[in-house]
């Protein structure tokens, strides 16, 4: 089974949930080829955390979206504005 490497950045206060998070560079996570966003969230321990949206390479995606080697993933919390 091949592996893929994805780069992850967390926004808001999500960094508090991952002790090893590097705010400057984010995280580099190795996944299996075929894994998607949901597998990534599970791997990060964010599977049960209330999240806003997730983007891959600058486009918003849903939880079942696929990931590819080199994907740039950004994870956001829900927001309210005014």
């Amino acid at each position: 089974m091949c592996e893929i490497l994805v780069r992850v950045k967390l926004y808001g206060t999500l960094h508090k949930r991952l002790a090893a998070y590097d705010a400057e560079n984010g995280l580099s996570i190795v996944l299996r080829e075929g894994d998607g966003v949901q597998a990534l969230l599970t791997r990060l321990g964010l599977g049960q955390v209330r999240l806003g949206f997730i983007s891959v390479d600058g486009r918003l995606v849903t939880g079942d979206a696929p990931l590819h080697d080199g994907a740039r993933v950004r994870i956001f919390q829900p927001i309210f504005g005014g």
């Binding site: 808001g12 806003g52 949206f53 997730i54 956001f76 829900p78 005014g82």
Partner: protein, 575 residues
Amino acid sequence: MKVIRVDMTTKAITDQALPAEYAGLGGRGLTSTLINAEVPATCDPLGPENRLIFAPGYLSGTTLINTSRLSVGAKSPLTGGIKESNVGGTVAADLAKLGITAVVVEGQAPADERYLLKIDGAGKAQLIDAGEYKGMRTYGFVKKVKAACGERNSVTCIGPAGEFQMAIASIQTTDFDGRPCRAAGRGGLGAVMGSKGLKALVVDQGGKNPDTLVDPEAFKASAKAFAQAVKADEFSGEILPELGTAALVGPINEAGALPTCNATQGQFAGADKISGETLAKTIKARGGKTTHKGCANCIINCSNEYVDQDGGYVTSSLEYETIWSMGAMIGNDDLDAIARLDFLCDDIGLDTISTGVAIGVAMDAGYRPFGDAQSAIAMVAEIGRGTAFGKVLGGGPGAVGKHFNHQRVPVMKNQSMAAYDPRALQGMAVTYATSPMGGDHTAGWVVDKNLEAFGGTLDRFSAEGQVEASRDTQIHMAAVDTVGLCDFAQSGLAAKGGFDHFLTMISAKLGQPFTKADWRDLGRRVLTAERDFNRRAGFTREDDRLPKMFYTEPLPPHNKVVVVSAEQMDQTFDF
């Protein structure tokens, strides 16, 4: 519950009991209904017939958290229509604790005269000659006024832009630390204040005469539950204290909805350099403050104090809208320059949104390149000096567009849009186009309803359901602005049982039941008064449209245009 009326022509000051027809109103509800009733709709906004009204929210001055919101209303010199702009700080709580429901300023002093309106601890008002402060910037002015009148006063004032009667002049008010860094920015109300000859409203902070609550026990119990809900909410209880409103930069940019380089793009390449995360990190590394209290009764603490590399104060509070208008909108990814621009606007007395967009239009027209932060600083300095070009900029984005004969001007009713591009969030197109206030994000923020991940059910690129969403939110926000609740404490309304607690508190002050239907009626009443004024001022349905650029220029990266039709826009106020 008294109204203080000040005639700047005769210098007469009279106290009046709040007329019965305005019972239950405060904030925007009171300013808008009073203006609609008392101000000739076709009057010169900078003439003696216009009235400038300061009104704390209906629940300001109570023990309920996050209710120190002051509404300021008048006919706007920017839009030519009715205007309400609200602001935090302490003044709303200060006025309400003196039992003052509104201060109505009418008439006009001679052009070379300046006055302070000083309200003492007994709620008595007097006009004091302020000629010595003429032309002063707000930070220096506040220092002098506090030295003269005492530290325990809030100061709500104008800077040079207001005295020049520029159409994007703000009214600044002091925050919890006594700095004039909170702005009633939109609509040029600083110019109206300047036209009256009123340099400042100075209010004693020791008031002990708030309106009586009919059922204080019911109020207390609901206020406690409401506060707990706001604290427990992740956004108001954790994200805002840590990152402030700048937390919005990342997600709005990622959604492709952050207007960039005068709204030619929806994503800014430098967004990470100006994000809430970077802001918080920078402030902490330099010894500044996040989790800062800016307003009376606040438990969210979304404010911050931005400092320079030596730890010296630069500005407070650096917020999302300013980071956008002085950042992405002008192609500037330098946080230090954004902070400097924010300070200059507060000091000169300018709306940061309109000022940034005016600079963006000038850059788009080729006056200076996008991203040239030093030129942006120089342009704002020109406004402060009142140079010929500074006066063009101080006229707002519309005036700048005319000056350069440049058509790409993102304004609605001549007031600039805010930090959400309507092509990527069609619901905001409806709010911007139809709000009686002109381009205004707070009048009907429907971003959440447009994004599924935030609980929304609408397709943000489709027109379907957007009119209904905007209508619903505009009605709701007209009521929120009337009671004086901070936008960000609305997490308390969304909590289980939260809205019922809120209605209980209104009822506990009002002395009669207040239902969800009454809440909606309140919002509709305010909007109806505002639209009636605008209609009589000459507005037609053609004014409820967006500039052509939003219908014809696809916005990268999604390459969409606004698809809400004119016919759909016209249904917004079918209620």
